[in-house]
Amino acid sequence: MVSTDDEPLLQVRGLGHTYADRSGRTRIGCADVDVDLWPGEVLAIVGESGSGKTTLLNTVAARLTASHGSARYRTRDGREVALDSLDEVSIRALHRTEWGFVHQDPAAGLLMNVSAGGNVGERLMSIGARHYGRIRESAATWLARVEIPADRIDEPPTTFSGGMRQRLQIARTLAISPRLVFMDEPTSGLDVSVQARLLDLIRGLVADLGLSVLIVTHDLAVARVLSDRTVVMRHGRVVESGLTDRVLEDPHAPYTQLLVSSILQV
Protein backbone atom coordinates (compact mmCIF):
# COMPACT_ATOMS: atom_id res chain seq x y z
CA MET A 1 0.00 0.00 0.00
CA VAL A 2 2.97 2.20 -0.44
CA SER A 3 3.80 4.14 -3.51
CA THR A 4 6.41 6.59 -4.45
CA ASP A 5 4.80 7.03 -7.84
CA ASP A 6 3.10 10.32 -8.41
CA GLU A 7 1.06 9.30 -11.42
CA PRO A 8 -2.19 7.39 -11.19
CA LEU A 9 -2.17 3.96 -12.76
CA LEU A 10 -5.73 4.36 -13.89
CA GLN A 11 -7.79 7.47 -14.52
CA VAL A 12 -11.49 6.99 -15.14
CA ARG A 13 -13.52 10.03 -16.20
CA GLY A 14 -17.26 10.20 -16.85
CA LEU A 15 -17.24 6.51 -17.68
CA GLY A 16 -20.49 4.71 -18.42
CA HIS A 17 -21.94 1.67 -20.06
CA THR A 18 -25.49 1.51 -21.41
CA TYR A 19 -27.18 -1.47 -23.00
CA ALA A 20 -30.50 -2.40 -24.54
CA ASP A 21 -32.72 -4.65 -22.45
CA ARG A 22 -34.94 -7.39 -23.91
CA SER A 23 -37.65 -4.96 -24.90
CA GLY A 24 -35.08 -2.78 -26.63
CA ARG A 25 -35.09 0.00 -24.04
CA THR A 26 -31.80 1.64 -23.15
CA ARG A 27 -30.63 0.76 -19.67
CA ILE A 28 -27.85 2.34 -17.64
CA GLY A 29 -25.30 -0.16 -16.36
CA CYS A 30 -23.14 2.59 -14.92
CA ALA A 31 -22.80 6.28 -15.71
CA ASP A 32 -20.62 9.33 -15.11
CA VAL A 33 -18.05 7.51 -13.00
CA ASP A 34 -14.85 9.30 -12.01
CA VAL A 35 -12.25 7.12 -10.31
CA ASP A 36 -8.47 7.25 -9.90
CA LEU A 37 -6.34 4.30 -8.88
CA TRP A 38 -2.79 4.91 -7.73
CA PRO A 39 0.07 2.41 -7.72
CA GLY A 40 -0.09 0.08 -4.74
CA GLU A 41 -3.58 1.14 -3.80
CA VAL A 42 -6.63 -1.03 -3.17
CA LEU A 43 -9.93 0.56 -4.15
CA ALA A 44 -13.19 -1.15 -3.25
CA ILE A 45 -16.35 -0.64 -5.27
CA VAL A 46 -19.30 -1.45 -3.02
CA GLY A 47 -23.04 -1.49 -3.52
CA GLU A 48 -25.97 -3.87 -3.62
CA SER A 49 -26.65 -6.21 -6.52
CA GLY A 50 -27.85 -4.21 -9.48
CA SER A 51 -25.91 -1.11 -8.40
CA GLY A 52 -23.69 -1.32 -11.47
CA LYS A 53 -20.48 -2.15 -9.64
CA THR A 54 -19.61 -5.21 -11.72
CA THR A 55 -20.59 -3.38 -14.92
CA LEU A 56 -18.17 -0.63 -13.93
CA LEU A 57 -15.41 -3.15 -13.25
CA ASN A 58 -15.96 -4.83 -16.62
CA THR A 59 -16.08 -1.49 -18.42
CA VAL A 60 -12.83 -0.31 -16.84
CA ALA A 61 -11.22 -3.66 -17.67
CA ALA A 62 -12.42 -3.19 -21.28
CA ARG A 63 -14.46 -6.39 -21.11
CA LEU A 64 -17.47 -4.19 -21.88
CA THR A 65 -17.49 -1.27 -24.27
CA ALA A 66 -17.67 2.20 -22.75
CA SER A 67 -20.72 4.11 -23.99
CA HIS A 68 -19.32 7.39 -22.77
CA GLY A 69 -16.35 8.76 -20.90
CA SER A 70 -12.80 7.51 -20.80
CA ALA A 71 -10.45 5.23 -18.92
CA ARG A 72 -6.74 5.88 -19.22
CA TYR A 73 -4.11 3.40 -18.08
CA ARG A 74 -0.39 3.86 -17.57
CA THR A 75 1.49 0.85 -18.95
CA ARG A 76 4.59 -0.88 -17.62
CA ASP A 77 6.75 1.14 -20.00
CA GLY A 78 5.22 4.41 -18.79
CA ARG A 79 2.88 5.14 -21.69
CA GLU A 80 -0.58 6.45 -20.92
CA VAL A 81 -3.16 4.75 -23.12
CA ALA A 82 -6.85 5.48 -23.61
CA LEU A 83 -8.43 2.06 -23.29
CA ASP A 84 -11.27 2.81 -25.72
CA SER A 85 -8.73 3.64 -28.42
CA LEU A 86 -7.12 0.20 -28.21
CA ASP A 87 -8.08 -2.61 -30.55
CA GLU A 88 -9.04 -6.03 -29.29
CA VAL A 89 -5.56 -7.45 -29.76
CA SER A 90 -3.99 -4.75 -27.58
CA ILE A 91 -6.63 -5.20 -24.90
CA ARG A 92 -6.00 -8.94 -24.88
CA ALA A 93 -2.29 -8.23 -24.60
CA LEU A 94 -2.91 -6.04 -21.53
CA HIS A 95 -5.01 -8.76 -19.93
CA ARG A 96 -2.25 -11.27 -20.66
CA THR A 97 0.78 -9.28 -19.58
CA GLU A 98 -0.17 -6.44 -17.20
CA TRP A 99 -3.58 -7.20 -15.74
CA GLY A 100 -5.21 -9.91 -13.75
CA PHE A 101 -8.91 -10.63 -13.36
CA VAL A 102 -10.27 -12.69 -10.49
CA HIS A 103 -13.84 -13.82 -11.16
CA GLN A 104 -16.42 -14.57 -8.51
CA ASP A 105 -16.86 -18.02 -10.08
CA PRO A 106 -13.45 -19.71 -10.24
CA ALA A 107 -14.62 -21.77 -13.21
CA ALA A 108 -14.76 -18.56 -15.24
CA GLY A 109 -11.07 -17.92 -14.66
CA LEU A 110 -9.68 -21.46 -14.69
CA LEU A 111 -9.14 -24.19 -17.23
CA MET A 112 -11.30 -26.70 -15.39
CA ASN A 113 -9.93 -29.84 -17.04
CA VAL A 114 -6.28 -28.86 -16.90
CA SER A 115 -4.12 -29.69 -13.87
CA ALA A 116 -3.55 -27.08 -11.17
CA GLY A 117 0.08 -26.78 -12.24
CA GLY A 118 -1.04 -26.46 -15.85
CA ASN A 119 -3.42 -23.65 -14.96
CA VAL A 120 -0.56 -21.60 -13.58
CA GLY A 121 1.88 -22.77 -16.25
CA GLU A 122 -0.43 -21.87 -19.12
CA ARG A 123 -0.56 -18.28 -17.90
CA LEU A 124 3.25 -18.18 -17.70
CA MET A 125 3.54 -19.65 -21.21
CA SER A 126 1.20 -16.95 -22.48
CA ILE A 127 3.85 -14.39 -21.61
CA GLY A 128 6.58 -16.40 -23.26
CA ALA A 129 7.84 -18.92 -20.70
CA ARG A 130 9.03 -22.04 -22.51
CA HIS A 131 11.30 -24.00 -20.17
CA TYR A 132 9.18 -26.87 -18.79
CA GLY A 133 11.21 -27.38 -15.62
CA ARG A 134 11.14 -23.71 -14.68
CA ILE A 135 7.44 -23.37 -15.46
CA ARG A 136 6.66 -26.33 -13.22
CA GLU A 137 8.90 -24.96 -10.50
CA SER A 138 7.21 -21.56 -10.66
CA ALA A 139 3.77 -23.20 -10.64
CA ALA A 140 4.72 -25.21 -7.55
CA THR A 141 5.90 -22.03 -5.82
CA TRP A 142 2.63 -20.30 -6.61
CA LEU A 143 0.54 -23.24 -5.40
CA ALA A 144 2.46 -23.17 -2.13
CA ARG A 145 1.86 -19.44 -1.82
CA VAL A 146 -1.88 -19.95 -2.05
CA GLU A 147 -1.66 -22.94 0.29
CA ILE A 148 -2.53 -25.68 -2.18
CA PRO A 149 -0.72 -28.89 -1.15
CA ALA A 150 2.16 -29.81 -3.44
CA ASP A 151 0.72 -33.28 -4.10
CA ARG A 152 -2.34 -31.76 -5.80
CA ILE A 153 -0.30 -30.10 -8.57
CA ASP A 154 -1.32 -32.66 -11.20
CA GLU A 155 -5.00 -32.69 -10.32
CA PRO A 156 -7.53 -30.58 -12.20
CA PRO A 157 -9.61 -27.99 -10.31
CA THR A 158 -12.72 -30.14 -10.82
CA THR A 159 -11.40 -32.22 -7.91
CA PHE A 160 -10.90 -29.11 -5.72
CA SER A 161 -13.20 -27.52 -3.13
CA GLY A 162 -14.63 -24.05 -3.81
CA GLY A 163 -12.07 -22.34 -1.61
CA MET A 164 -9.18 -24.20 -3.23
CA ARG A 165 -10.46 -23.37 -6.69
CA GLN A 166 -10.57 -19.70 -5.77
CA ARG A 167 -7.04 -19.85 -4.40
CA LEU A 168 -5.89 -21.53 -7.61
CA GLN A 169 -7.52 -18.79 -9.65
CA ILE A 170 -5.61 -16.24 -7.61
CA ALA A 171 -2.32 -18.10 -8.18
CA ARG A 172 -3.03 -18.28 -11.91
CA THR A 173 -3.87 -14.57 -11.99
CA LEU A 174 -0.84 -13.40 -10.05
CA ALA A 175 1.73 -15.71 -11.68
CA ILE A 176 2.59 -13.15 -14.36
CA SER A 177 3.15 -10.37 -11.76
CA PRO A 178 0.29 -8.16 -12.96
CA ARG A 179 0.41 -4.43 -12.23
CA LEU A 180 -3.34 -4.11 -11.92
CA VAL A 181 -5.74 -6.73 -10.62
CA PHE A 182 -9.50 -6.62 -11.02
CA MET A 183 -11.47 -8.69 -8.52
CA ASP A 184 -15.18 -9.36 -8.79
CA GLU A 185 -16.61 -10.57 -5.46
CA PRO A 186 -13.68 -12.97 -4.93
CA THR A 187 -14.90 -14.19 -1.54
CA SER A 188 -18.63 -14.44 -2.18
CA GLY A 189 -20.20 -17.84 -2.52
CA LEU A 190 -17.75 -19.43 -0.10
CA ASP A 191 -18.31 -20.70 3.43
CA VAL A 192 -17.61 -18.12 6.09
CA SER A 193 -14.46 -19.77 7.44
CA VAL A 194 -13.15 -20.29 3.89
CA GLN A 195 -13.94 -16.64 3.15
CA ALA A 196 -11.87 -15.46 6.11
CA ARG A 197 -8.90 -17.56 5.02
CA LEU A 198 -9.11 -16.28 1.45
CA LEU A 199 -9.47 -12.69 2.58
CA ASP A 200 -6.39 -13.05 4.71
CA LEU A 201 -4.48 -14.63 1.84
CA ILE A 202 -5.47 -11.87 -0.59
CA ARG A 203 -4.53 -9.23 1.96
CA GLY A 204 -1.08 -10.74 2.45
CA LEU A 205 -0.40 -11.09 -1.28
CA VAL A 206 -1.59 -7.57 -2.05
CA ALA A 207 0.74 -6.17 0.62
CA ASP A 208 3.72 -8.38 -0.29
CA LEU A 209 3.48 -7.76 -4.03
CA GLY A 210 2.42 -4.11 -3.75
CA LEU A 211 -0.50 -4.78 -6.09
CA SER A 212 -2.93 -2.18 -7.34
CA VAL A 213 -6.41 -3.61 -7.02
CA LEU A 214 -9.90 -2.67 -8.05
CA ILE A 215 -12.21 -4.94 -6.08
CA VAL A 216 -15.98 -5.21 -6.33
CA THR A 217 -17.81 -6.43 -3.25
CA HIS A 218 -21.24 -6.18 -1.69
CA ASP A 219 -19.64 -6.97 1.67
CA LEU A 220 -18.53 -3.83 3.50
CA ALA A 221 -16.41 -5.95 5.81
CA VAL A 222 -14.37 -7.13 2.82
CA ALA A 223 -13.89 -3.51 1.79
CA ARG A 224 -12.83 -2.64 5.34
CA VAL A 225 -10.24 -5.38 5.60
CA LEU A 226 -8.75 -5.02 2.12
CA SER A 227 -9.13 -1.52 0.79
CA ASP A 228 -7.55 1.90 1.30
CA ARG A 229 -10.40 3.75 -0.39
CA THR A 230 -13.99 2.90 -1.17
CA VAL A 231 -16.48 3.97 -3.81
CA VAL A 232 -20.18 3.44 -3.06
CA MET A 233 -22.46 2.84 -6.05
CA ARG A 234 -26.20 2.98 -6.46
CA HIS A 235 -28.29 2.90 -9.63
CA GLY A 236 -25.13 2.87 -11.71
CA ARG A 237 -23.69 6.01 -10.17
CA VAL A 238 -21.13 6.80 -7.50
CA VAL A 239 -22.95 8.22 -4.46
CA GLU A 240 -19.96 8.54 -2.15
CA SER A 241 -16.24 7.89 -2.14
CA GLY A 242 -13.35 8.38 0.23
CA LEU A 243 -11.06 6.70 2.74
CA THR A 244 -12.62 3.34 3.56
CA ASP A 245 -12.76 3.96 7.30
CA ARG A 246 -14.36 7.35 6.74
CA VAL A 247 -16.98 6.03 4.32
CA LEU A 248 -17.90 3.37 6.88
CA GLU A 249 -17.73 5.45 10.07
CA ASP A 250 -18.78 8.89 8.85
CA PRO A 251 -20.97 8.19 5.83
CA HIS A 252 -22.57 11.29 4.33
CA ALA A 253 -24.86 10.05 1.55
CA PRO A 254 -28.27 8.83 2.74
CA TYR A 255 -27.75 5.59 0.83
CA THR A 256 -24.34 4.92 2.43
CA GLN A 257 -25.87 5.53 5.86
CA LEU A 258 -28.55 2.99 5.04
CA LEU A 259 -25.97 0.48 3.80
CA VAL A 260 -23.75 0.90 6.87
CA SER A 261 -26.66 0.74 9.31
CA SER A 262 -27.91 -2.47 7.69
CA ILE A 263 -24.84 -4.45 8.71
CA LEU A 264 -25.51 -7.18 11.20
CA GLN A 265 -23.50 -6.67 14.37
CA VAL A 266 -22.22 -10.02 15.60
Partner: protein, 276 residues
Protein backbone atom coordinates in the same frame (compact mmCIF):
# COMPACT_ATOMS: atom_id res chain seq x y z
CA UNK B 1 -7.73 30.26 24.03
CA UNK B 2 -4.77 31.63 22.17
CA UNK B 3 -4.65 31.92 18.43
CA UNK B 4 -1.17 30.49 18.08
CA UNK B 5 -0.17 29.81 14.50
CA UNK B 6 2.12 27.04 13.42
CA UNK B 7 4.89 29.57 12.93
CA UNK B 8 4.87 30.69 16.55
CA UNK B 9 7.59 29.42 18.87
CA UNK B 10 6.70 26.78 21.43
CA UNK B 11 6.14 27.74 25.02
CA UNK B 12 8.10 24.60 25.94
CA UNK B 13 11.18 25.54 24.04
CA UNK B 14 10.89 29.04 22.69
CA UNK B 15 14.05 28.73 20.64
CA UNK B 16 13.38 25.71 18.49
CA UNK B 17 10.10 23.88 18.83
CA UNK B 18 7.29 24.63 16.42
CA UNK B 19 3.82 23.29 17.06
CA UNK B 20 3.21 20.04 15.27
CA UNK B 21 -0.58 20.22 15.28
CA UNK B 22 -2.94 23.14 15.52
CA UNK B 23 -6.72 23.06 15.49
CA UNK B 24 -8.46 26.28 14.50
CA UNK B 25 -12.21 26.31 15.12
CA UNK B 26 -12.98 22.78 14.03
CA UNK B 27 -16.63 21.82 13.87
CA UNK B 28 -18.41 18.52 13.46
CA UNK B 29 -22.10 17.84 12.85
CA UNK B 30 -23.61 14.49 12.01
CA UNK B 31 -26.57 14.56 9.63
CA UNK B 32 -28.80 11.55 10.18
CA UNK B 33 -30.52 10.90 6.89
CA UNK B 34 -32.28 7.81 8.22
CA UNK B 35 -33.83 9.90 10.99
CA UNK B 36 -35.38 12.47 8.67
CA UNK B 37 -32.18 14.42 8.17
CA UNK B 38 -31.86 15.51 11.78
CA UNK B 39 -28.61 17.35 12.39
CA UNK B 40 -26.55 16.62 15.49
CA UNK B 41 -23.92 19.26 16.18
CA UNK B 42 -21.37 17.48 18.36
CA UNK B 43 -18.42 19.86 18.40
CA UNK B 44 -17.67 23.43 17.38
CA UNK B 45 -14.89 25.95 17.92
CA UNK B 46 -12.35 23.23 18.68
CA UNK B 47 -9.03 25.01 19.23
CA UNK B 48 -5.80 23.64 20.59
CA UNK B 49 -2.11 23.50 19.81
CA UNK B 50 0.14 20.52 20.29
CA UNK B 51 3.92 20.71 20.60
CA UNK B 52 6.64 18.10 20.14
CA UNK B 53 7.57 16.31 23.34
CA UNK B 54 4.36 16.95 25.22
CA UNK B 55 1.34 14.89 26.14
CA UNK B 56 -1.96 16.77 26.16
CA UNK B 57 -4.98 14.95 27.51
CA UNK B 58 -8.49 15.55 26.25
CA UNK B 59 -10.63 16.02 29.32
CA UNK B 60 -14.33 15.65 29.93
CA UNK B 61 -17.01 13.08 30.71
CA UNK B 62 -17.90 10.13 28.48
CA UNK B 63 -19.75 11.01 25.31
CA UNK B 64 -18.62 14.61 25.19
CA UNK B 65 -16.67 14.16 21.95
CA UNK B 66 -13.11 13.28 22.94
CA UNK B 67 -12.87 10.29 20.58
CA UNK B 68 -14.53 12.38 17.89
CA UNK B 69 -11.63 14.83 18.04
CA UNK B 70 -9.08 12.01 17.66
CA UNK B 71 -11.04 10.58 14.73
CA UNK B 72 -11.20 13.99 13.05
CA UNK B 73 -7.42 14.24 13.28
CA UNK B 74 -6.93 10.70 12.00
CA UNK B 75 -9.34 11.35 9.12
CA UNK B 76 -11.84 8.68 10.11
CA UNK B 77 -14.35 11.48 10.60
CA UNK B 78 -14.58 14.35 8.17
CA UNK B 79 -14.13 17.92 9.41
CA UNK B 80 -17.00 20.26 8.51
CA UNK B 81 -15.23 23.57 9.01
CA UNK B 82 -12.12 25.12 10.46
CA UNK B 83 -8.50 24.25 9.80
CA UNK B 84 -6.34 21.50 11.26
CA UNK B 85 -2.71 22.19 10.52
CA UNK B 86 -0.20 19.36 10.74
CA UNK B 87 3.52 19.89 10.38
CA UNK B 88 5.10 16.81 8.81
CA UNK B 89 8.61 15.52 9.55
CA UNK B 90 9.77 17.36 6.42
CA UNK B 91 8.41 20.65 7.78
CA UNK B 92 5.58 20.84 5.27
CA UNK B 93 2.27 21.99 6.74
CA UNK B 94 -0.93 20.24 5.65
CA UNK B 95 -4.49 21.29 6.46
CA UNK B 96 -6.04 17.95 7.40
CA UNK B 97 -9.52 19.45 7.10
CA UNK B 98 -8.93 19.67 3.36
CA UNK B 99 -6.39 16.92 2.72
CA UNK B 100 -7.23 14.45 -0.04
CA UNK B 101 -7.36 10.70 0.54
CA UNK B 102 -3.87 9.97 -0.72
CA UNK B 103 -2.37 12.65 1.51
CA UNK B 104 -4.20 11.22 4.53
CA UNK B 105 -3.00 7.71 3.72
CA UNK B 106 0.57 8.96 3.39
CA UNK B 107 0.41 10.93 6.64
CA UNK B 108 -0.95 7.88 8.45
CA UNK B 109 2.07 5.92 7.28
CA UNK B 110 4.60 8.59 8.14
CA UNK B 111 3.30 11.01 10.74
CA UNK B 112 0.00 10.20 12.44
CA UNK B 113 -0.12 7.23 14.79
CA UNK B 114 -3.44 6.17 16.25
CA UNK B 115 -4.20 3.65 18.97
CA UNK B 116 -7.91 2.91 18.95
CA UNK B 117 -9.77 1.45 21.89
CA UNK B 118 -10.03 -1.95 20.26
CA UNK B 119 -7.80 -4.11 18.15
CA UNK B 120 -8.92 -4.61 14.59
CA UNK B 121 -7.27 -7.60 13.01
CA UNK B 122 -7.57 -10.21 10.33
CA UNK B 123 -8.15 -13.80 11.46
CA UNK B 124 -4.96 -15.66 10.67
CA UNK B 125 -2.24 -13.05 10.99
CA UNK B 126 0.18 -13.90 13.81
CA UNK B 127 0.47 -11.39 16.65
CA UNK B 128 4.06 -10.48 15.75
CA UNK B 129 2.97 -9.47 12.24
CA UNK B 130 -0.11 -7.61 13.50
CA UNK B 131 2.29 -5.46 15.53
CA UNK B 132 4.89 -5.20 12.75
CA UNK B 133 2.37 -4.33 10.05
CA UNK B 134 2.58 -0.52 10.24
CA UNK B 135 6.33 -0.84 9.71
CA UNK B 136 5.97 -3.41 6.95
CA UNK B 137 3.54 -1.18 5.08
CA UNK B 138 6.07 1.63 5.41
CA UNK B 139 8.55 -0.72 3.69
CA UNK B 140 10.76 -1.35 6.71
CA UNK B 141 12.68 -4.62 6.10
CA UNK B 142 10.66 -7.50 7.62
CA UNK B 143 13.44 -8.63 10.00
CA UNK B 144 13.81 -5.13 11.45
CA UNK B 145 10.05 -4.68 11.69
CA UNK B 146 9.60 -8.00 13.52
CA UNK B 147 12.52 -7.34 15.83
CA UNK B 148 10.98 -4.03 16.87
CA UNK B 149 7.56 -5.62 17.21
CA UNK B 150 9.03 -8.35 19.41
CA UNK B 151 10.77 -5.77 21.57
CA UNK B 152 7.47 -3.98 22.23
CA UNK B 153 5.58 -7.22 22.90
CA UNK B 154 8.28 -8.11 25.42
CA UNK B 155 7.99 -4.76 27.17
CA UNK B 156 4.23 -5.22 27.35
CA UNK B 157 4.62 -8.75 28.75
CA UNK B 158 2.89 -10.59 25.94
CA UNK B 159 4.33 -14.13 26.37
CA UNK B 160 6.58 -15.17 23.48
CA UNK B 161 4.51 -18.35 23.15
CA UNK B 162 1.67 -16.19 21.81
CA UNK B 163 3.62 -14.24 19.22
CA UNK B 164 3.03 -16.63 16.36
CA UNK B 165 -0.68 -17.01 17.16
CA UNK B 166 -3.35 -14.65 15.85
CA UNK B 167 -4.69 -12.41 18.64
CA UNK B 168 -8.30 -13.41 17.87
CA UNK B 169 -8.58 -15.72 20.86
CA UNK B 170 -6.58 -13.63 23.33
CA UNK B 171 -8.07 -12.09 26.46
CA UNK B 172 -9.21 -8.47 26.41
CA UNK B 173 -6.09 -7.28 28.21
CA UNK B 174 -3.77 -9.22 25.91
CA UNK B 175 -5.49 -7.85 22.82
CA UNK B 176 -5.21 -4.35 24.18
CA UNK B 177 -1.48 -4.81 24.75
CA UNK B 178 -1.06 -6.07 21.18
CA UNK B 179 -2.99 -3.00 20.07
CA UNK B 180 -0.70 -0.70 22.05
CA UNK B 181 2.43 -2.41 20.73
CA UNK B 182 1.09 -1.89 17.21
CA UNK B 183 0.38 1.76 17.90
CA UNK B 184 3.83 2.44 19.36
CA UNK B 185 5.86 0.47 16.84
CA UNK B 186 6.21 3.26 14.26
CA UNK B 187 7.74 6.23 16.11
CA UNK B 188 5.31 8.65 14.50
CA UNK B 189 5.79 12.33 15.39
CA UNK B 190 2.11 12.59 16.38
CA UNK B 191 0.45 9.91 18.46
CA UNK B 192 -3.28 9.77 19.13
CA UNK B 193 -4.23 7.50 22.03
CA UNK B 194 -7.84 6.57 22.74
CA UNK B 195 -7.88 5.07 26.24
CA UNK B 196 -4.99 2.68 25.73
CA UNK B 197 -4.88 1.64 29.40
CA UNK B 198 -8.58 0.82 29.84
CA UNK B 199 -8.25 -2.90 30.53
CA UNK B 200 -4.71 -3.22 31.84
CA UNK B 201 -3.34 -4.33 35.18
CA UNK B 202 -1.00 -2.10 37.20
CA UNK B 203 2.26 -3.51 35.80
CA UNK B 204 1.16 -3.06 32.21
CA UNK B 205 -0.29 0.33 32.92
CA UNK B 206 3.11 1.37 34.25
CA UNK B 207 4.74 0.02 31.11
CA UNK B 208 2.41 2.08 28.91
CA UNK B 209 3.28 5.14 30.97
CA UNK B 210 6.97 4.36 30.30
CA UNK B 211 6.29 3.97 26.57
CA UNK B 212 4.56 7.35 26.52
CA UNK B 213 7.45 8.95 28.41
CA UNK B 214 9.91 7.40 25.93
CA UNK B 215 7.95 8.80 23.00
CA UNK B 216 7.80 12.23 24.63
CA UNK B 217 11.52 12.19 25.24
CA UNK B 218 12.02 11.28 21.58
CA UNK B 219 10.01 14.37 20.62
CA UNK B 220 6.64 12.87 19.78
CA UNK B 221 3.55 14.98 20.37
CA UNK B 222 0.84 12.97 22.09
CA UNK B 223 -2.86 13.70 22.27
CA UNK B 224 -4.62 11.22 24.49
CA UNK B 225 -7.77 10.17 26.27
CA UNK B 226 -7.31 8.54 29.68
CA UNK B 227 -10.09 7.88 32.10
CA UNK B 228 -7.64 6.41 34.58
CA UNK B 229 -6.74 9.37 36.85
CA UNK B 230 -3.44 7.76 37.92
CA UNK B 231 -2.18 7.42 34.37
CA UNK B 232 -3.38 10.88 33.54
CA UNK B 233 -1.57 12.38 36.50
CA UNK B 234 1.63 10.62 35.48
CA UNK B 235 1.78 11.50 31.79
CA UNK B 236 -0.33 14.59 31.16
CA UNK B 237 1.53 17.84 30.68
CA UNK B 238 -1.78 19.64 30.41
CA UNK B 239 -5.48 19.06 29.97
CA UNK B 240 -7.67 20.27 27.14
CA UNK B 241 -11.24 20.79 28.35
CA UNK B 242 -13.44 19.36 25.59
CA UNK B 243 -16.56 20.67 27.36
CA UNK B 244 -15.94 24.17 26.01
CA UNK B 245 -16.20 22.81 22.44
CA UNK B 246 -19.68 21.37 22.89
CA UNK B 247 -22.25 23.50 21.11
CA UNK B 248 -25.28 24.51 23.16
CA UNK B 249 -28.08 22.06 22.53
CA UNK B 250 -25.76 19.25 21.50
CA UNK B 251 -26.73 15.69 22.27
CA UNK B 252 -24.25 14.73 24.94
CA UNK B 253 -24.55 11.00 24.67
CA UNK B 254 -21.74 10.21 22.30
CA UNK B 255 -23.97 7.51 20.93
CA UNK B 256 -24.68 8.79 17.51
CA UNK B 257 -27.48 6.65 16.08
CA UNK B 258 -26.26 4.06 13.63
CA UNK B 259 -25.95 5.18 10.04
CA UNK B 260 -23.55 7.97 10.77
CA UNK B 261 -20.49 7.22 12.77
CA UNK B 262 -20.29 4.60 15.47
CA UNK B 263 -21.41 1.59 13.49
CA UNK B 264 -18.83 -0.42 11.64
CA UNK B 265 -19.16 -3.70 9.83
CA UNK B 266 -17.95 -6.92 11.34
CA UNK B 267 -16.60 -9.22 8.65
CA UNK B 268 -18.50 -12.45 8.54
CA UNK B 269 -16.45 -15.02 10.37
CA UNK B 270 -13.74 -12.49 10.93
CA UNK B 271 -12.54 -11.54 14.36
CA UNK B 272 -12.80 -7.80 14.42
CA UNK B 273 -13.56 -4.90 16.65
CA UNK B 274 -15.82 -5.83 19.50
CA UNK B 275 -17.60 -2.53 19.63
CA UNK B 276 -16.77 1.06 19.38
Amino acid sequence: MTTTRLTDPSPLDPTTALPVLEALDLAKTFTMHLQGGVRLPVLSGVRFTLYPGECAVLDGPSGIGKSTILKMIHGTYGIDSGALLLRGPDGAVTDLARADDRTMLRLRRTTLGYVSQFLRCVPRVPTLDVVAEPLLSARVPPEDARRRAGHLLERLRVPTGLWMLPPATFSGGEKQRVNIARGFVSDHPVLLLDEPTASLDAANRAEVVDLIEDQKAAGAAILAIFHDPRVRAEVADRLIDVGVFVPSGAVRSGRVPSGAGRSGPVPSGVENEESR
